[in-house]
Amino acid sequence: MTTDSAEPKYPEHTYLNDGYSLKSWLLTKDHKRIGILYLISITFFFALGGLFALLIRLELLTPQGDLMQSDTYNKMFTMHGIVMIFFFLVPSIPAVFGNFLVPIMIGARDLAFPRLNLASWYMYMAGAVFALYAIVSGGVDTGWTFYTPYSTAHADSHVISTAVGILIMGFSSIFTGLNFIVTIHRMRAPGMTWFRLPLFIWAHYATSLIMILGTPVLGITIALVGVERALGLGIFDPANGGDPLLFQHLFWFYSHPAVYIMILPAMGVISEVITCFARKVIFGYGFIATSSMLIAILGFFVWGHHMYVSSQSEYAGLIFSALSFLVAIPSAIKVFNWTATLYKGSITFEAPMLYVFGFIGVFTIGGLTGLFLAALGMDRHVHDTYFVVAHFHYIMVGGALMAYLAAMHFWWPKMTGKRYPEGLAMVGAIAVFVGFNMTFFPQFILGYLGMPRHYHEYVPEFQFLHIMSTAGASVLGVGYLIPGVCFLWSLIHGRNAGPNPWEAKGLEWTIPSPPPTHNFEEIPVVTEEPYQYTSEASSVRHS
């Protein structure tokens, strides 16, 4: 895409060279720097969560527990889940790319509340300190779902400090969501009407709604766990007159929508990248934007699909099942629209686009297998087996993480002003896709065979598939290292990117890479719809 001729000049004043002191970073109010702070923090947690995953997969190579004791294993999967979900996936795209891009994409100089934005990072870090304290001082073994009464009356691990960590982390989520909503409402550049917003913005708007409506419930739930555990009040523990199912209702009221906190921003990324590398306007803009909102709203009413076999009322089960099927439709609509966007495109295959292809593939499989779990009579067999493990990894690791990597490659030149080595990055994308499927596809079969999740030891007939899965995980592990190598290499040797290395549309590509501290010399005036890669002249309208 870039001609090899003259290397673009590196801009003189950028947000990166606007002060080098530690203080200039730690007290920054620049949304871009805060995005970078988040990037560094969550990368650390991704590596930590990955380390736990590695240990889990190694242990599962054999049916006996030989690498570690049962309680250690239980802590491994608990901490893998907590770290990956609360400290990596929930913040990932919104906190890094949302922070960096939301103001720029709508033509603003910063978020509405820059101080609150900085505070959100500090909340995240404070939460992280508690979680890390829990990890190094012995760990926690309740599973990331903290089911009661195990978590409140039986576990003798560091439940309270972990809970406090998640509670505090939750505030960072709420602050970020609030900031995005206000920013998107109040700070759009002239001409940036609601239906000229990039779909990335719509996705973040929907995500922010979930963050501010759902996260407080998580906070209360976690706080109640702490209260019951510390004071012995009977809230969830039937031995003291509590109701263990109440916990599950509260917990999933947040934690199902939380899946959409992870996947909606990912969907936003896909719309941005696919249009650029197909050089086409998005197919069905209105339908994609609306489906994000529908997902955010409907997503709040399906939590009971986690409780079909919990002894929840049968009739509740029926309603939750019907609604869960309904929420699948907007996701399907998006996949169809992305596919249609490729039709009659002019497609190239750089790393971001390869991740998008990967995303569409694994998200399709992840979404379809969700239907098995929404179906009452089928869920009874697959509930809490490896089928579920495979399903949500397809959505959260396959889907969200692949989109995160697409975003990393796509906007890296914007954030750093440097190109990464394209060939190697493409190899990385392929390795991640292949490794991912090798790791998690066998787990669907394991689950249908009846392998329960959270098992340290298992019956020998499951071993073959576990070996396959672990083999895949090593490919996946290497796959994840490759982007790391590319990005480090690019910082040292990368060519200057210039303002718009992908020849992409969108306001972020109209300013220098890396952008100056205040983004725009002059606030832009927006005159057209997003993704105008083609002129109306060549228009072929279907209707």
């Binding site: 009464p149 195990y150 050089r279 439709i329 490729l342 002019s346 869920d379 067999h381 072929v540």
Partner: protein, 335 residues
């Protein structure tokens, strides 16, 4: 059964076939859409790759017709899934009336079973083939879950309440039973076996080494704990008669009513204040902590075994137990 390669679970219950049939429908739909999307993406990627003469995409903003198509067709397909899944669930939730009862207690980290004649076993459950079995389950500590993959059944075992699950084995042999809800350190060792025998062999097995049957043990407890002082006897009783209680509708103080199922009877014993029977004083003491989960199940089994007095029997299922008492009083008065 042990070791070896396996890619599909045994089908060993009446539920396995229907669940698998549904599974194949779901797999069919999934494969269709996966192949469809993969093929379209691949074909478009190759056909519309950038090359001389194809530097720019076509300007296509969308198509209402297509949007409607790919909304309505999936809606239709998931509607089928919903009803099919709901039908199976309905069948899974309703044990046939002639099912054999087995009591199950889960505790960290073992399973205790007791058959209706009193025979107990741990981590192994013997059952007859071709006979519906109903498990009534309680937990002594945290949430556990009974899962028998070969039967395609699974149900949480929740402390503080009784849950049930049923199945009918179609094949003899030994099948895995897993605890499927994470319950702490040895969760993965909370596994057992279901041994399905020919019914006549099962009868022989059952006859050996029995203890007191649950109903008898429940009766003993009922007298030892002096439940009978309030619930049994002639004339005005301090507590409602429990005869014919199970399955009847009970009117509650302050309005409302409840069907007296296992869980209600259990709750009446450990937490009598939760639901007060209309027309009675809340004087029943709680027996929480005084009886184990297993003894509770025995008490429930005994209360269930108390038949309605023959005169009132016909109406018992519909009348409240208070009304049953009134009928009793009326008949006594009439004599």
């Amino acid at each position: 059964m042990q070791g070896g390669l396996k890619f599909f679970p045994d089908q060993a219950s009446t539920m396995a076939g229907p669940v698998d049939a549904f599974f194949f429908y779901l797999v069919g739909v999934s494969v269709f859409f996966t192949v469809l999307i993969f093929t379209l993406v691949a074909v478009f990627a190759v056909k519309y790759r950038r090359r001389p003469g194809n530097e720019q995409g076509a300007h296509i903003e969308g198509s209402k017709l297509l949007e409607i198509t790919w909304t309505v067709i999936p809606l239709g397909l998931v509607a089928i899934m919903f009803f099919w899944g709901a039908k199976l669930y309905y069948d899974q939730e309703r044990a046939p009336a002639n099912a054999l009862d087995v009591l199950v207690t889960g505790k960290k980290w073992m399973w205790k079973f007791q058959h209706s004649n009193g025979r107990r076993e741990i981590n192994t459950l013997h059952i007859p083939a071709r006979t519906p079995i109903k498990l009534t389950m309680g937990s002594e500590d945290v949430i556990h879950n009974v899962f028998v993959p070969a039967f395609r059944v699974k149900q949480d075992v929740v402390p503080g309440r009784l849950t049930t699950v049923w199945f009918e084995a179609t094949k003899t042999g030994s099948f895995h039973l897993f605890c499927n809800q994470y319950c702490g350190k040895d969760h993965s060792r909370m596994v057992g076996k279901v041994i399905v025998m020919e019914p006549n062999e099962f009868q022989a097995w059952l006859a050996g080494d029995t203890g007191l049957p649950p109903v008898a043990s429940g009766e003993l407890l009922f007298n030892q704990l002096a439940c009978n002082s309030c619930h049994m006897g002639e004339g005005m009783l301090r507590g409602p008669s429990l005869a014919g209680l199970h399955g009847s509708r009970v009117a509650l103080l302050g309005g409302g009513s409840v069907i007296a199922d296992d869980d209600y009877i259990r709750e009446s014993i450990v937490n009598p204040a939760a639901k007060i029977v209309d027309g009675y004083q809340p004087i029943m003491p709680t027996f929480k902590g005084l009886v184990t989960e297993e003894q509770l199940m025995h008490l429930v089994a005994y209360v269930k075994s108390l038949e309605a007095p023959s005169g009132a029997k016909a109406g018992a299922a519909e009348t409240t137990s208070g009304a049953t008492l009134a009928v009793d009083a009326a008949t006594t008065a009439g004599q």
